[in-house]
Amino acid sequence: MKRLLVVGLSIALVYLVYTGTLSVVEVLIAVGIGLALSRVIGVDLVKDESKLSVRRFFEAVKYALKYFTVIEYLAHYSVVKAILSRDPGLKPAIVEVPYYVNSEIAVVTIANSITNTPGTVVVDVDEKRKKFYVHWIFAEAFEGEEARRGVSAEFEEWAKKIFD
């Protein structure tokens, strides 16, 4: 029930934002489409209904705010500095970064967070061994905890709080 409503209303929101009008008829259509779709694919999106909580939602909002301001700013700053400086200090390498989260969506959140910040790109993921392969232009370590600390430790903390 909670899954049906949360997924349905999220889809309704997507419909209304895309449509760009807010009238009684549009809201009714949006909710109708949202609930109908939610019945079909709700189980794909929310595997464990008990994980839907207000606390996790606000963690996600907090993460989004911090990610798109502070984290993005710092990552852009270091890359811009390297581009403009005489001695950029590049050390490009593909490094092996372990992760410890379990849910699929947490893994993807970490991977997207890594790729979206300049300087690091996830090129592959090994789900059996739980490792990301990341191209890092300032490689400080090639594998293990040290690489994780430089690339994904903070993202993983947030992903754990939001999804795991």
Partner: protein, 265 residues
Amino acid sequence: MRSRGALEELGLVLSILLGVLLTYYLVRADVVSLTYGNIPLANLYLRAVPDPSSPFTSRSPEVVTSVIWDQRGYDTYFETSVLFIAIIGVLYLAGLGGGQGNSSVSTVIPRVIAKILFPVIVAVSVSVALHGHLTPGGGFQGGSIFAVAPFLYLLVFGRRMLEGKGFRANALVFARSLAVFLITVVGSIVLVVGLLTGVPAFLFQNQPKPQLSPIGYPAYVVLPWGGIFLFSGTLMILNVLEFTAVSTGFTLALVIIDTVTGGRE
């Protein structure tokens, strides 16, 4: 089994009735005569396109091709571009699995992203179809957008998952046939009412035509709370039906192609 047979017979009778009705109308409206007297636009093209002395000539006896590539060539160019881009998109998505004969299921990233994109694509496609009478878009455009969602599922999860969601070949054929049938019904209701009441009316008529035909579809309804819901007569109804026909048609084609080529289970 018995009810299915009855349904098929009903379908046959309705198809024959529609055919008779269309033929009657075409003859009555003088569309199938050879005089062209009542269709000045067609007359203009038929005269001007092959006539070397006309400023609109294409020096070709084939008027349809001339119109498509000459008089409205710009439009055709962009249609071709759209198709080209759509095919590039399909090839790109189909190539993501990597290598020939590689039947491995994709990694966690496309799996999760496909699940998130599915409802977004469907919500956008419905909006494009429902607002076809207000903003650019319509049933065909919305239906084409919709088909991307099942295509993603087909590539990432395989056919069985898609069939589990209700996208089965017979259900798709049924929805598509029903939609196309209802398009014909919506397009001929005004004509049928006109024939029954002895008032002049046209095939695929939308609004009443001053001096020509006093009947037609309403353009809007007043809602119980006072607002006005504009659906522009047949336009919104036909867009919804076209959306159903195109989305199920494209999905059906993709499912059938996947069946024939063996898919990636």
